[in-house]
Amino acid sequence: MNEENKPGQPAPEGPSEGKTGDSSEAPAAAPKPAAPAGAGEVKEAKPKPAAAKKPPVKKGPSYEDLTDDPLLKDLRERFPDGILSGQTFLGQPIYTVSLNVLTEVMVYLRQSDQWAFDYLVDLTCLDYIGDEKRICMVYHLYSHKSGRLIRIKARAAADEMVPSMAPFWRTADWLEREAYDMFGVEFSGHPDLRRILLPDDWLGYPLRKDYDIKLQDQAWIRNHLRIRKVPE
């Protein structure tokens, strides 16, 4: 099942996904692009040859479909259209859900007595630049009752609103502020969405792939730090 899994399944969420399309023109880009837009592509050019070489060598762990997973079965029954895939990587289960049922799924996982995922371990984002739905929300949930750790993923477009988890887990408050700060994800229903690590009036979202590591908000630095000429 791996063979058909590799090209097909990572499509909704595999990290190399989305590069397959633009990787053809990416290698031609200069190794050190001055323009921030090129920054992401240089690195992402690699997965394609790696993926092409993989089947003969068959090396390293890979994504596998979840089989006989009671949680996946239960979710599929409850949200027939919302559950896009259930996979596992190195024994860590990953459930990909569509954005419109994200809140329902998360609330169900938290409140049902059977699963009781009461602990939001972490909330973060991945940026698959070049995809239509480039933002991938990643939630790690843990149940103190069963001791299980799962990962929930949902894809969103860059300008799409993502439902906030802050009303259900207070952990999510700052974590969502950080995701907003670093990726520019807007959360609907968040009580206090503003930047947390960067200054309030900073421009740009640094952890996006098109934000070059050397890029800075020059105007901010000039105004606040009184540095006339910022080294490029």
């Binding site: 990572p10 595999g14 990290p15 190399s16 590069k19 690195k43 992402e44 690699k46 997965p47 790696a50 993926a51 993989k54 090396k59 390293g60 762990p61 890979s62 994504y63 990587f89 190195l90 860590q92 990953i94 009461d118 602990y119 939001l120 371990v121 972490d122 973060t124 991945l126 940026d127 990643v138 790690h140 843990y142 103190h144 001791g147 750790l149 990962r151 887990w169 207070r170 952990t171 408050d173 700052w174 974590l175 950080e178 670093m182 930047r195 947390i196 690590l197 960067l198 200054p199 640094p206 952890l207 934000y211 590591i213």
Partner: protein, 370 residues
């Protein structure tokens, strides 16, 4: 009382920090006060933000490592462990037994050292200066051990992917043994100064109370969670790095107050010592590094690797796109999440308690801001 005058300025907003000795770094808290009572608190963080996660995306897997030392600089040794374990898992690298044991030992030494910094500064904030001097006396010995093995005291760059950089230097085991033989009496000494001290009890009992349910809701981890009676320790819940081979207890509190968290950390130091004792008794020989490919290139995939750091669950969510640089490394910072509960814990407390509560959360701003 009836007519408001200028004397009852009901709400006063003051800044605590960012340069304040009791905030353990550059933490700024906007306190809303009514006299001595705290009505609300808003944390302003980010003064130490260096973009470690962004830097990781531009370095190879091996070159990322030293940066993680510099996030939580008080627990630099254990910081590396979570990341190293994650990459080893993705690369399917076998780590020799000896390296596993040494890693556990050094991580536990680090836990003791980190708790000693916490104890010293926390007690000093509250007004007990002596403990600070005592605690740093022992910490110095641990740092000497670090220096012997890693060549540095603070930014240790302790573990490498696949094992260790160097084997234990001559005389290390003896020195470690000497330390752990003495250590129980030292912990008793600290406890003698504080545990039944009237002032200490007054300042910590019933301060910063948080219930188990709320602690879970806030995502607390480490001693702040266990102080509220939730027995969650990653070493137990999802054993990693050989921890399943050692006996230790996970102390749990009842009241969820500052005093319980204090007792837990004191007990944790004893338990860490117990683990080190077992490591030293059973330390196997053999190589210290497994077979590691010259270029670390994990196949496409993702892994969440968490450890129980001195401050709580420290997780690394590593995503690989098949190249030699991580697609993303997300650090789940325990104190960032723990600090969030400060707002709730200080509500209704006295200004002086705010300092006790910051201390009991054991924040390290380098890690919060990353």
């Amino acid at each position: 009382m009836d007519e408001p005058t200028i004397l009852d300025a009901q709400e006063l907003e003051i800044n605590m920090g960012p340069q304040h000795p009791a905030t353990h770094g550059v933490l700024r808290i906007k306190l809303k006060l009514d006299g001595e009572r705290v009505l609300d608190a808003d944390c302003v963080i980010g003064y130490l933000h260096r973009g470690v996660e962004k830097i990781s995306e531009n370095r190879t897997y091996t070159k990322c490592l030293p940066y993680y030392d510099r996030t939580d600089y008080i627990a630099a040794v254990s910081n590396a462990l979570g990341y190293v374990l994650g990459v080893e898992k993705m690369m399917e690298i076998e780590v020799p037994e000896r390296a596993v044991y040494i890693r556990v030992m050094m991580t536990e030494f680090n836990r003791i050292a980190s708790h000693l910094v916490w104890l010293g500064t926390h007690a000093m904030d509250i007004g007990a200066l002596t403990v600070f001097l005592y605690g740093f006396r022992e910490r110095e010995e641990i740092l000497k051990l670090f220096e012997d093995l890693f060549g540095a005291r603070l930014t240790t760059h302790a573990f490498r992917i696949g094992g260790l950089w160097m084997d234990l230097p001559p005389g290390f085991v003896e020195a470690a043994r000497r330390f752990i033989d003495d250590f129980p009496t030292k912990v008793d000494e600290y406890e003698q100064l504080l545990t039944n001290n009237r002032i200490w009890l007054d300042r910590t009992k019933g301060v910063g109370v948080i219930s188990g349910e709320e602690a879970i809701d806030f995502g607390l981890s480490g001693p702040p969670l266990r102080g509220s009676g939730v027995p969650y320790d990653v070493r137990r819940a999802r054993p990693y790095g050989g921890y399943d081979q050692f006996d230790f207890d996970v102390p749990v509190g009842e009241h969820g107050d500052t005093y319980d968290r204090y007792l837990i950390r004191m007990e944790e130091m004893r338990q860490s010592r117990r683990i080190i004792q077992q490591v030293l008794d059973r330390l196997p020989g053999g190589p210290i590094r497994g077979k590691v490919p010259r270029v670390i290139k994990p196949s496409v995939g993702e892994y969440y690797s968490a450890i129980e750091g001195p401050r709580g669950e420290l997780g690394y969510y590593i995503v690989s796109d098949g190249s030699a640089v991580p697609f993303r490394v997300r650090i789940r910072p325990p104190t960032f999440i723990n600090l969030q509960a400060l707002k709730r814990m200080v509500k209704g407390a006295l200004v002086a308690d705010v300092i006790a509560i910051i201390g009991t959360l054991d924040v390290v701003l380098g890690e919060i801001d990353r």
